[in-house]
């Protein structure tokens, strides 16, 4: 009996919910239709612009100093949010950059590998086990290991070696600006990124350097292959990487797997995981996700970036709310008069919200311009700020939402205003 009642209540609730959703959608469509019709009437000169736009603009621009404070608050807040989110996007992209550039169908790695830079080692036997699995066409070893780079002027600095043979399936450098990929086949050849020249104490192509007391020559220069850990990547063929890192020739960090045509990645992966002894197979997406999750949330770096963005947003909301509230309070006589002469609550909300939206539009424009400058100036640094179009649109919507939320305090103040005060003021 209870069960029947529960089901009937749930169905009723569902019906009510659907009904409300239908009403809401219908109302929104009507508003949209009316808005569009009104815009057409305005453009064709049959209607005049409602005064709430003018009232909002005049209220906003009436006190220039307060407007400047509001805009400064929004700009400060949004620049902070933009930079934090830009860093987040950049960080998110950089932590998977090697995975993104490897043409593998599946990755095989030591059990418990947290991210690409986690330099645990696989035994050669795992490669043979992998090749025995139906559907695996090829399994190419890649070595990732730290090594000490001798700075010519003295001292050492760690580098992250990427050892891979020149192979269709290998992990090769990209964005080459000096030299040729074939040059990496020359004995002792290495590839480094131009942004690390100063740090590595080198002037570029042709320089001879030392890695773990072994000679190496820069034969290839790339641009934009940077590590967010600030440790430079150094590309070199697999056997030399093993020498620089003093790792035995039967070891590798990853096996990049290419599947046979028509093989199902998921079933091959399952089969690999059953076959491999101390290794596991992941799809590139799963490996990306694991790397991001480790760097962004496992280390707290992502949380710190989010916390910064959240703090920026809170500062923005408080500043905009405070100035909107002060402006509304200053014009509370006018709002009470509007109410007295019969304006609906929506009309008054429209004035306040348009004020908030105008502040948002001005503040966002300035913040976006500053964001562009930040993107340009950090483009060649170890951690560039990236603001793709999607992020820009999201930040604009966030600014609008922030300003509208800020208007709530002002709206609450107006809702509590008694229109009869117009007789006593």
């Amino acid at each position: 009996m209870t069960r029947v009642e529960f089901i009937s209540v749930s169905r009723q609730g569902l019906r009510d919910g659907l009904c409300r959703l239908r009403e809401f959608t219908a109302r929104m469509l009507i508003y949209l239709w009316r808005g569009a019709a009104f815009a057409v009437s305005l453009l064709t000169g049959r209607k005049i612009a409602p005064l709430f736009f003018k009232l909002a603009a005049r209220n906003l621009f009436h006190d220039r100093l307060r407007l400047a404070a509001t805009i400064a608050g929004i700009v400060f807040s949004m620049v902070l949010v933009t930079v934090q989110m830009g860093l987040f996007v950049s960080f998110r992209t950089m932590v998977t950059t090697m995975i993104d550039h490897a043409p593998a169908d599946l990755w095989i790695m030591p059990l418990g590998t947290k991210c690409f830079e986690d330099p645990a080692l696989l035994d050669e036997r795992e490669r043979f086990r992998a090749l025995s699995v139906p559907g695996v066409a090829e399994a190419v070893p890649v070595l990732v290991s730290f090594a000490q780079w001798h700075i010519p002027s003295g001292g050492t600095t760690p580098v992250l070696l990427i050892g891979s043979d020149r192979n269709e399936l290998g992990l090769q450098p990209w964005n080459i600006v000096d030299g040729d990929l074939y040059d990496l086949a020359i004995p002792d050849a290495i590839a480094v990124d131009r942004s690390y020249f100063e740090r590595l104490g080198t002037s570029g192509l042709g320089d001879t350097v030392e890695i773990r007391d072994l000679k190496a020559k820069i034969r290839l220069v790339t641009q934009g292959i940077r590590s967010f850990t600030t440790t430079p990547y150094v590309f070199t063929p697999l056997d030399r990487a093993r020498s620089y890192a003093a790792i035995s020739p039967n070891k590798a960090t990853y096996l990049l797997v290419r599947l046979q045509t028509g093989a199902n990645a998921e079933s091959v992966r399952t089969h690999l995981n059953q076959t491999l002894a101390k290794a596991e197979a992941l799809t590139p997406d799963a490996f990306r996700s694991r790397s991001r999750s480790f760097w962004l949330f496992g280390t707290g770096a992502g949380a710190a970036l989010f916390a910064g963005a959240l703090l920026g947003m809170i500062v923005g909301i408080v500043i905009v709310a405070q100035t909107l509230y002060a402006s509304t309070k200053e014009f509370s006589n006018e709002f009470a008069t509007l109410r007295a002469i019969g304006s609906s609550s929506q009309y008054i909300y429209a004035v306040i919200i348009i004020q908030a939206l105008m502040s948002a539009a001005i503040g966002f424009s300035v913040a976006a311009a500053i964001g562009k400058v930040v993107v340009k100036t950090t483009a060649d640094t170890a951690l560039p700020v990236l603001i793709p179009a999607g992020l820009m649109i999201s930040l604009f919507l966030l600014t609008v939402a922030m300003c509208v939320v800020s208007a709530i305090a002002a709206i609450v103040h107006i809702v509590r205003t008694d229109p009869a005060v117009v007789f006593t003021r």
Binding site: F38, S41, K47, P50, L51, E334, A340, G342, S343, F423
Partner: protein
């Protein structure tokens, strides 16, 4: 004279709370008809402004009833009361309550704007209303560029542009000199004389007595006397 445009019957209104609660209106009944100008007079604290607020649907009575253009206000939600004010009542305030950031024309337009009327005819109607109060040449002036008398005339234009059946004016001449006070009352009397609108003026100002069709005296929240023009006893 036509049917009542605003009618109050046995209205009781309490103001304040707890120990500070006072009975501001104690069973007030009155009606305002179309085509008449009624003065509501009484000493300070007698309940004039409270009565005006109740008649103007800004305060709801605790007891008794108010009807505006035949519609009872009892039980109406704040938004419905706002709609009633918008459609049937025009207000003229002692301190004008014009929007300092809008021109005279826009201040007048506002009364139609809050009704959602954005047709081009609104501009013509605003010009006509300004002409009615003798300020055709001040369309682009801001309130601070107008004299007190002119500001009050703009406020009257705002009250009449929507064809409100009742104009409720709170001390419209209190801040004006004799000349401007006379001009403002002449305009209000003309509006009443047109026959469709009733004008109720709360005042202390004895200079405007000659404009009244009826005078209602209120004391301690009660109507004590109603007189016709010339001092004869009249219907309240």
């Amino acid at each position: 004279m036509s049917d009542p445009v605003v009618e109050a019957t046995d209205v009781v209104k309490f103001l304040g709370q707890g120990a500070g609660r006072v009975r501001a209106l104690r069973g007030v009944s009155l009606s305002l008809n179309g085509g008449e100008l009624v003065l509501l007079m009484g000493p300070s604290g007698s309940g004039k402004t409270t009565l005006l607020s109740v008649l103007g649907c800004m305060l709801s009575p605790n007891m008794g009833s108010v009807r505006v253009c035949g519609r009872a206000t009892a039980g109406l939600a704040p938004e419905q009361l706002a709609a009633l004010r918008r459609d049937h009542i025009g207000f003229v305030f002692q301190s004008y309550h014009l929007f300092p950031t809008l021109t005279a024309m826009d201040n007048i337009r506002l009364a139609l704007d809050v009704r959602g009327d954005y047709s081009r005819r609104v501009i013509e109607r605003a010009k006509e209303a300004l002409a009615t109060v003798g300020l055709s040449h001040k369309t682009r002036s801001y309130p601070l560029q107008l004299s007190s008398g002119e500001q009050q005339r703009v406020a009257i234009a705002r009250a009449i542009i929507g064809d409100a059946a009742a104009i409720l004016a709170d001390e419209p001449t209190a801040a004006l000199d004799s000349e401007n006070g006379y001009a403002v009352m002449s305009i209000l009397a003309n509006i009443a004389r047109q026959g469709t609108r009733g004008v109720l003026v709360v005042t202390h100002d004895p200079r405007i007595l000659p404009f009244a069709d009826r005078i209602i005296h209120i004391e301690d929240g009660r109507i004590v006397r109603g007189t016709g023009n010339g001092g004869t006893s009249a219907q309240i």
